[in-house]
Symmetry: C2
Subunit: 484 residues, 2 copies
């Protein structure tokens, strides 16, 4: 996590990675934490997370889920109970060995994810089929000790929600797994304006302990993929490991079928890299900390002009807030309007409303659009009505732009040579044999990975593997891309 | 944390402590975590916390505060920088020594509170008086390795909010400290129906590193006090320890003045013990997970009656939800109405609405009040209007009841013998010399502590210390009580 501030923002074309590492600090989303790989999420970034939480949480509750809270410290022995799970997570654990001035009898891990501690509780909470389903979620911090970290994309500590459900049948659990993927996809597109491909992970990319991992994959503006949310079907794996059994309708003992699903502060990275441009961030209106910034414009020391402008600015802000619009009035003294323009442009506030003495003479305010740069004069009395419509249109335009970008950078490949070339520039749909060794070979040769077997997409019937020529192992072509 | 379920709920009079330890599990607020001293906050308890968060957060934002997030792991060396702070917290730290499979170069503490890591960041964020004030808050988990733990009251891990502000002057910081105490007091009374005494802690009871600690103290139904929220003025202590300096208006370097203030899941304990009775919990309506439980009543197998009742129940629930009322429809099959009554009574839902065939014939529903046990027939068309009014009245009655209980158990003492007797039964206002040794002697002899020097209350002018006879050290009589 390098911090740069003195120079100009790098362009996306010259160095996308440098652009990202610069804009997250410039736009005041984060600061570095004192411990390697940690970040301070600053108010402008945290507000984005609060809006993500609020809207996603409402979708969870509307589908019958409740929130609860499990302890953060998990006995190390819990991880041993599910063989694949421990293999996946043990290397990344942060471990508490001392507390209250003494060495602990058993070391405790800070949760990297909570299947184990929740599985132990579910085994006590579930006795009969009448106790099922359990539909719970928690909003918490988790810790995975990663070597290479970048703000939002990969940090040792991050914030997320993790849903954990238990069901009487495989069918119900699978339906839940799919439902939560649909919720993530709907949320990403309808709130984040981030178009996503829904699909299933190949065996090698599955969550440690899952029978099936569903994912939403988004394309960043450098053509790379970002996994933005996942939903896992565990089958009976965790139920067997933690003894989550129940008496079914026939009074026979059965194992529960469990799922888990999560979306994290990584989604902020998706927003930044799906929408941002060379001027900085572009915030999707429904999640934007501020949807409109209002700039009062008057000459320094012209107190009469200032009074008139500020009175109108306050009235407009109040009228907008009454419409439910999130408004920031930038009335800081001693900063030029130009400097304020640049700052809010960089921070990606969707709309800018300028009010100066000349505007007031004409009874208008100037409404500027961060995406197109277009500016329109809006009658003062019409602002409160115009802004919500402009925000709705902004959302649609942003989503359309992202879809168009993705479509322009999505390819078929007739040969592995073409695959190799195309995958440098975006997503490639290609048939694959399904062999883990062949998938690994592709990764070694191209740095691209199988992002998912898409739920919808071109058929691979009768096709042969893009690399090895064996018959396709899946019904559909696999989406390959370089990924974060 | 002992768990009991088989027997009847102990009465408060026979064993208040056993009543508490039993009701938190019976009402399904918590479960035990696998690690000593930790708790799982179950959905019914967590929903209470969500309502606390939502309402308190709105009060913070209305007074100009923003949320952010600081990393949970703090380098051990940070604690050394403020001498009193390290003395207060070092014995309770949980320490991460290994991560990613390796021993760390420097051990990391899980935050017990975040003054140190925030102080380090503020030193970088503040350069000029123009950068001040910083008005930030975070909602997080913290860890203090306590030996004796009880759900909500004292757990090794708990949830809270911690506000941290920095100001240019002592006056501003003191005003902030007082403002946040007022917000806690207003919140406790207007949302929790928990009456509180606002006061200042004596020197011995101050937060480690603070120059002044303000507190709200509530009386539980066993006469003991529960500290329910605190607001600290740090002076320049943390600014000097972490070098939070700025150029003031005269371009001279000065230290910032900082504050911090917190309210935790402990407040759930205050709600339980301020309002609960021998039947179980009584939830304050504004924070209650469910404000009304609707019970459809019909004979098993009477499908016609069931259909009619359920249609009306659904219509009533929809009408109530439209009024913003939090409604639970208990339509579980195979459970008698009596069993459902008892369960919701124990869980303390303020109002119960019963709808049966006889009620429908008369065009009414029966509305029962958890506090008084009173039942009234309400015309079906009037329910949506009646319930919000009944909830408002319930809140007032609950607050009044708690105030009356506190006033009945609040005493003056003319002698130390009387003090000793009275403090077994509630709060005692008594003059005190202000000497820490004398305060400790009182604690040793009576187990009571100085809860606070109240901001309002009887004068101690010319009075002498209740124990040692030296002149009063404070303007007012001190509030003494046994405490959680």
């Amino acid at each position: 996590m390098a911090k740069m501030k003195a120079k100009a923002l790098p362009t996306q074309a010259e160095d996308f990675s440098a652009w990202y590492n610069d804009i997250v600090y410039r736009a005041d989303l984060v600061d570095l934490g004192p411990v390697r790989g940690t970040m301070i999420i600053k108010p402008y970034g945290y507000s984005l997370w609060e809006n993500i939480q609020k809207n996603l949480d409402a979708m969870f509750k509307a589908t019958g889920h409740e929130n609860l809270y499990f302890p953060m410290l998990i006995p190390m022995s819990f991880f041993q109970k599910e063989a694949q799970h421990v293999e996946g997570f043990a290397p990344e654990l942060a471990v508490v060995t001392h507390a209250g001035g003494k060495e602990l009898e058993e070391p405790l891990a800070i949760r990297p994810t909570s299947e184990t501690i929740i599985g132990e509780a579910y085994s006590r909470w579930v006795q009969s089929y009448r106790d099922l389903p359990l539909l719970y979620n928690q909003w918490v911090n988790v810790m995975r000790w990663e070597l290479r970290t970048r703000p939002f994309l990969r940090t040792t500590e991050f914030l997320w929600q993790e849903g954990h459900t238990a069901h009487a049948t495989a069918e119900e659990a699978l339906a839940e797994t799919r439902q939560m993927l649909d919720i993530y996809a709907t949320f990403a597109e309808e709130f984040g304006a981030v178009p996503v491909i829904k699909g299933e992970k190949t065996e090698g990319e599955r969550f440690a302990g899952a029978l099936m991992t569903l994912t939403i994959e988004a394309m960043m503006r450098d053509g790379k993929a970002l996994q933005s949310g996942t939903s896992h079907y565990m089958g009976e794996n965790f139920a067997r490991a933690f003894d989550i059994t129940f008496n079914d309708v026939n009074n026979e003992q059965a194992y529960a079928h469990t799922t888990s699903w999560g979306l994290s502060t990584r989604f902020i990275g998706a927003i930044i890299m799906t929408h941002g441009d060379d001027k900085g961030l572009i915030m999707p209106p429904k999640l934007a900390p501020y949807q409109v910034v209002v700039l009062p414009i008057y000459r320094a020391n012209d107190e009469a002009a200032k009074a008139g402008v500020m009175a109108e600015v306050d009235a407009l802000a109040a009228a907008l807030r009454e419409q439910g619009v999130r408004v920031k009035v930038d009335d800081r003294e001693g900063l030029s309007p130009g400097r304020k323009f640049n700052e809010w442009e960089q921070k990606g506030v969707p709309l800018r409303l300028e009010v100066g003495p000349k505007d007031l003479e004409q009874g208008v305010a100037q409404l500027a659009d961060r995406l197109t740069g277009a500016k329109e004069a809006v009658a003062l009395g019409a602002v409160a009505e115009r802004v919500p419509a402009a925000l709705a249109a902004f959302h649609e335009a942003l989503l359309e732009r992202a879809r168009a970008y993705r479509d322009e950078h999505t390819y078929d490949a007739a040969s592995f040579d073409e695959f190799r070339e195309r995958v440098e520039d975006g997503f490639v749909y290609a048939p694959h044999c399904g062999e883990p060794a062949c998938e690994e070979a592709i990764q070694e040769e191209t740095k691209a990975t199988a992002r998912c077997i898409p739920l919808e997409g071109p058929s691979a019937e009768g096709a042969v593997c893009i690399r090895c020529g064996r018959p396709s192992g899946y019904e559909r072509k696999v989406v390959f891309a370089k990924a974060y």
